[in-house]
Amino acid sequence: MTLLEFADVHQSYGEEEVLDGISFGVDRGAVEVIIGPSGSGKSTLLRCVNRLTDIDSGDIRLDGTSIYARDENELRQQVGMVFQDFNLFAHLTALENVTLGLRRVRGFSKEEAVADAHDHLERVGLLEQAESYPAELSGGQKQRVGIARALAMDPEIMLFDEPTSALDPELVGEVVSVMRDLAEEGMTMLVVTHEMGFARSTASRLTFLDDGRLVEQGPPEQLFERPEHERTGTFLRRLTELHGGIDR
């Protein structure tokens, strides 16, 4: 059953067409991994889903209704977002990063919020660091707080915008493992990443974007082993050489 649907999405920045007619659906519980060279529009596509970026034409539907027919803040609560640069609130502890949304958006009492936040921090393995400030955390820990913060809003779908790109190689594993756990729990995920290990092992489907167009889509094995398009093969081979195909 389709949870998220892109219908002929166009988006341009000045003269440049960033998204040039994207159409596809994401099933509930699926892990959709989007790959493509830089500037291919993958991050923009993600940002359109929670309306950080507005589209020019077409439609994006969540659970059958257009995201533009919903209240913006309510939509964003249902769509969790994890950023490449973490964007943790620098002046708040890990715990407060999670409770802020619970209190201000979901209207939890302080006690409820703290209890719930503790659960989410535990889920990403960071209960010990609850009182630490972002600057006191490693990149991997920051990103896991970022995931906990998004999960706390009880979203229907999670968006990951290159969640491991800003991390030192040895810290990638801990974040990937949290994402994998999430996938196993049945969370619907839309992931932009260069992490081929994760794509191979966890993606239900790979989507290759280039130049704002959807080039090819299919199960990971198919795209890795027998891509239909020359471009897909070249891109994946180069990426695997760069980032290693080892399953972490």
Binding site: E74, V79, F83, N87, A90, H91, L100, G101, V105, A135
Partner: protein, 225 residues
């Protein structure tokens, strides 16, 4: 140029009179800085996040105020205010509004330095723009504003002396009054040096206190995200 001991005795004998000047200077600074903050912070927020019209208005008003000498602003408030107001309030309004125009720039710069990512992250969990400004960007920006605010505070402190122009009995005016007496005539240099020294101590105290404030509210581990 001799620094005569008689002159220092004359200054010492008038310490109560000068002391009241100090009180005026300190109160005027405090009221003006607070007024500047109350107007300057919203102005800075509008300049950063406001829509075209409100932003344009605030920006223009800021340029106008920042482009005018403080003495003209003070005299204008004193002579042109529709109601006759005490020199103290004219000075406080003038210095406060001028300070607001500068503080808005400090806060705008600090808000911009917080980065778009923080706003996006706050909006992404479903917070309204106003909530995000209040809970996420402003608290961070305020910390970053402390060095600029420190500057602004001492500038206001020093510029209270310009209230001399409207005859407010602050420190410098009282010093001038002292030297205009018969006895004071021979103590001019000493009087102005003593008063300058008091200002110097005040600016230093302000700076040290705000340094301490900055350390008190620093985010552990620095400013990483």
């Amino acid at each position: 140029m001799l620094l005569q001991s008689g002159a220092w005795e004359y200054i010492a004998a008038n310490w109560v009179y000068l002391g009241w000047g100090l009180v005026f200077t300190v109160c005027l600074t405090a009221v003006s800085v607070v007024l500047g903050f109350l107007l300057g912070l919203p102005a800075g927020i509008i300049e950063t996040y406001g829509s075209g019209y409100s932003r344009g208005l605030v920006e223009r008003a800021g340029v106008l105020v920042r482009g005018t000498p403080i003495v003209i602003i003070l005299v204008a408030f004193y002579f042109l205010f529709p109601l006759t107001i005490a020199a103290f309030w004219a000075a406080a309004l003038g210095l406060g509004i001028r300070s607001a125009a500068y503080q808005s720039q400090i806060f705008r710069g600090a808000l911009q330095s917080v980065g778009d990512g923080q706003m996006e992250a706050a909006r992404s969990v479903g917070m309204s723009k106003l909530d995000a400004i209040r809970r996420v960007t402003v608290p961070q920006a305020l910390r970053r504003s402390i060095p600029g605010f420190q500057n602004e505070f001492t500038i206001v402190l020093k510029d209270t002396s310009v209230a001399y122009a409207i005859g407010l009995g602050e420190l410098l005016t009282r010093g001038t009054n002292l030297y205009l007496t018969e006895q004071g005539n021979t103590a001019v240099l000493e009087i102005f040096l003593a008063i300058s020294a008091v200002y110097f101590v005040l600016t230093m105290t302000t700076n040290l206190s705000l340094d301490a404030l900055g350390r008190r509210f620093a985010i552990p581990g620095g400013e990483g995200r």
